[in-house]
Symmetry: D2
């Protein structure tokens, strides 16, 4: 068994940096630090098509990642039970059949395919000057104040982010978040978190009016990630409390915007200013604490996670948010290019 | 000139309740109360195809709404200026040409087509037992506590909602919101708001795994509405602060869920429980207060709205949120039906 | 009632030549010559969006053509009868309801929308140097030998084609075809025909490998036209009888192809040589001769056309073939441009 | 390296008959008889997802077929030359890069993925009573007269077809075709052919009006197969020479159609009668005879095939025609089911 994907429409002649791609993949990988699940997933990507002598050929890029130890593992304990707040129940009802091994297709493991495809998209966009950066800005109620959202540059260095096991670039907040996650883990519980993302140097004009607005597609992309329960652009839910005179981005006498509360889009179309948004992740459903649930026959039973699960998913979800952003941006970049 | 749309794939043989549709449309209409813009838009829908003797024929339903007084109106003051936080700038840059009359296609007037199409979808879903209800739960910092989100029924009566000019079913909160809007208007300013929406009796199994999850499509639909800056499902951004043991929905000994923090979907697929979410609207960009901006040549200038604009958009956006929900649900309903 | 369409994705800033568009539309119009139906259709196009001060704005181009006399006409004779070889039966079974007025949506009248949209696409392509020309090369068993298919130019002048009521540029063959159509009409019958089409100066690289090959999309476009029963590219069914050594297009010592049996595509992608193909139209189903049929209750009855129908559809279908070609080409042109 | 595909939207809970699938695949395989190329391709399908314990799960069915000996083979002779009537030239120009190994993605080898996916679709449709049968009815100018096209049953037995190396069910014609192919091969040349296909017991109502007519999608599917240059439904190009009174399908007094010249669709929608069509294949481009061509620098050179290629492709293309038919039919079957 394997997981994989097909990335169609990728421009031809682009030289892939495989080392960088593997680095990107490693951020999602289990077992990367003491803070995340110690489950082993090797995540060795095999490209089956679309790349020739290190360059993309313009034809679909197919790739697979084998589940090395899936066969040997025992998933029979999942067979007859619906784990609370998992997709076991809905898959069973929708399809009348369920591949119970490791959660099957509803497993967060599917995000590895997003990171491969998005990693390639990100490399292409970077070559065009478009950069994106995600990081953890909240775990539980510990929220890091963000700085320089309105500036046309990435706010933090890669080193700052990677220096933190939580992937929070402010080391003080990172330390508090780490403590909270470790305590939560000790309690056999889990905790939610938020990932912030900023995209800079986006050309003016990306996004389609009405239904396929740029924030609409970014929102769909984020809400398609497991455990995501919300997204807000710019001031987001905070904008609700603001007046128009305060929220509007006016121009100074040199024609430069004095603020970027619009968060980089107007009417759904990029305006050249940075795009930034926050994504809310609920606490991981699988916990070590025993919980009440039902089996496939509807009988009451209890279930408890085996202990190798993440107590907080956001540190490992950072590359997923970047990957999905890159996939959306590259689509719009190419669409807009069709008219250039 | 006119606005309109084509609704393709609507089931045949369905009898349209035109009176109900007009009622639905009237909720979005300007000039409906002293609280909203007094601009006149007649919103008379003309159906051009897809309906025969009052029933849908299964072929595309095309409709137009004429802009009765568009020609006579003078929009030349918009011609050479980029209104702050409007799409004037991005449309001009994306297309190199801009229909400046009333904001053209980026005007909130395009939402009338959403309400027509969504109104038809809503009627069809209602005949299948699926109901949805949106209302205002926040204006500025005044937020109405919501009740009974987890219950499998609509929380408020239509009468409660329509009794409020703000479309907030709690009359105490409604009064406070109304006062805030009126004061904001007096100041020549605008204010943001939130719309809550609940969908009940959704069959189990709607939504597609991975990219086209039900919340992902609902999120895209909401973020495609003008002025929307965020969406959250269930506890949303509040879930970030919760523990898994608290957020998980466990089952009681009768096999019934004891809570619905999942807000009606698991793994992106409806689980039969109510779906509920909140949508954040930024304050309206057009305000009477004078603001600094630039003209199309990049020269500094000032601009001020003419006073017929909404000080708060959410009361009129309630049917839009319902309409977009209905369109998403009907798509998934038909897709799932293909496999029944 | 009206017919119309929406053309989405058309490039912005393009100046429409409305006179040329009306000329193009007039070729499809009934009543244009003694050879075709004398039914009156005014075909006055009204553009509702997407065009501003004569130029495209980049947003969807919506247009309608009113059926001026549809209401006054009496279609009740069609209500309870299934006309042989018409879509009455299949529409009734598929949708359970049928708009019997003039054949409703299965009426050949829907092709007017194709001609409007395709006419715009054709103008845009012409500005890029891509030209297309369709003409009648067969009526019944009278087939005009084609010349210069392999040459990189249009084969006939517009004047030659329009000098013929049949739209066959060889006047000898045209005369014979005209006589055959007139005799067929006198007999209360109808006759089939073929339309040839050639597209020149197509850039290399249009078309997508595997499923969305350029000939595949052109074939789909042609087979979507009412009454079309076949399409062949290049030698087509004649190629079946050829050897590879004869059919292959070799290169001369200057690197130029010595033939164009491939008809302008290799592996589904344009190679810069002319694309040419033939489209087979069955005889019109509505004839004056009385025919056996059944009514909606399944009872035997007879039916006879009222005499205002075309005895041969191909002269009026010439602009439809060009229009559909233009729509396919413009799509691929823009897709390819995304990667330039 | 590998070839493969993803079949999304396949209904869940369907038990795959892998033995039958392998049998179906073996019909496309090289080396199956002395008449076709002796190249070895093992075509061992590995399913990576979407099937669990022998049944489909409703999630995407991903599969790959490894190219066992691709690495060891030497394709460097293809590197710098454009084979006449191959896609080498167009791929190079479109993408600026070309995977020259075995023709890369433009290789007819890609059809194996179509046969796998189509084979699964065919099994599902068969369980619903919908059957399809393709066979060779023409090689060069030898054309077998077809019988019983209008009857609601498959015309030949599987045994009749498989008894012929050419897959022509009439043994006299088969023998003549075989001789022609063998002689052509001896001459180092290739020859074209036609495949006929009939689909029976199609429910009434499949196909969408206007652009996505059933014959339009079938036509696109066929024209997407390598080497196909034409398709005709029913009488096809022969219908051009017929009168309406002759071509129309009238009903007898019992309400049954007396003929099926419409070939199973009216207005693009299936009418319950058999669908039948013919597909024209040009002669294979790769021949042993030396031909003039150019290299990538545009210099004149010559090229000659290595002798392991098919002299006539149609015997091996029979399952491809069935597979593509099945994929189109299953799509429309599910779409129509959405409205049932």
């Amino acid at each position: 068994m394997a997981i994989g994907g097909i990335l169609d429409g990728f421009p031809s002649g682009f030289e892939i940096d495989f080392e960088q791609l593997n680095l990107f993949l490693s951020k999602r990988k289990p077992g990367q630090s003491k803070l995340v699940t110690q489950r082993k997933e090797d995540d060795q990507v095999e490209f089956l098509s679309g790349i020739f002598e290190g360059k993309t050929t313009g034809t679909p890029i197919a790739f697979i990642i084998r589940n090395e130890d899936a066969k040997s593992k025992d998933y029979s304990h999942n067979k007859d039970v619906y784990r609370p707040s998992h997709a076991d129940f809905t898959y069973d009802k929708k399809y009348g059949i369920r591949d119970y091994r490791g959660g099957g297709r509803s497993s967060a493991r599917e995000t590895v395919a997003r990171v491969v495809a998005g990693g390639l998209a990100q490399q292409f966009l970077a070559a065009k000057g478009i950069q994106m950066q995600a990081f953890v800005d909240q775990v539980g109620s510990i929220r890091m104040p963000w700085k320089d959202q309105h500036e046309s540059k990435l706010c933090y260095s890669e080193t700052d982010i990677e220096a933190s096991l939580v992937r929070c670039p402010d080391l003080d907040y990172s330390a508090k978040m780490q403590t909270l996650i470790e305590e939560t883990k000790k309690n056999g519980d889990s905790i939610g978190g938020c990932i912030a993302c900023k995209i800079v140097h986006v050309p003016v004009g990306l996004g389609e009016p009405v239904f396929d607005k740029l924030p609409a597609e970014l929102g769909k992309a984020m809400l398609s990630i497991n455990a995501v329960k919300g997204i807000e652009f710019g001031e987001g839910f905070g904008a609700v409390e603001m007046n128009g005179s305060e929220h509007n981005d006016t121009f100074d006498s040199d024609g430069n915007p004095t603020s970027n509360n619009a968060a980089g889009t107007l009417g759904g179309i990029s305006n050249g200013q940075p795009i930034y948004f926050r994504v809310a992740f609920k606490p991981v459903a699988t916990i070590v604490k025993e919980q009440n649930t039902i089996d496939a026959e509807g009988n009451a039973t209890t279930i408890a996670g085996k202990g190798r699960h993440d107590a907080c998913v956001v540190p490992r979800a950072v590359p997923i948010v970047e990957a999905m952003s890159a996939l959306v941006l590259l689509d719009f970049y190419l669409i807009q290019n069709a008219y250039s």
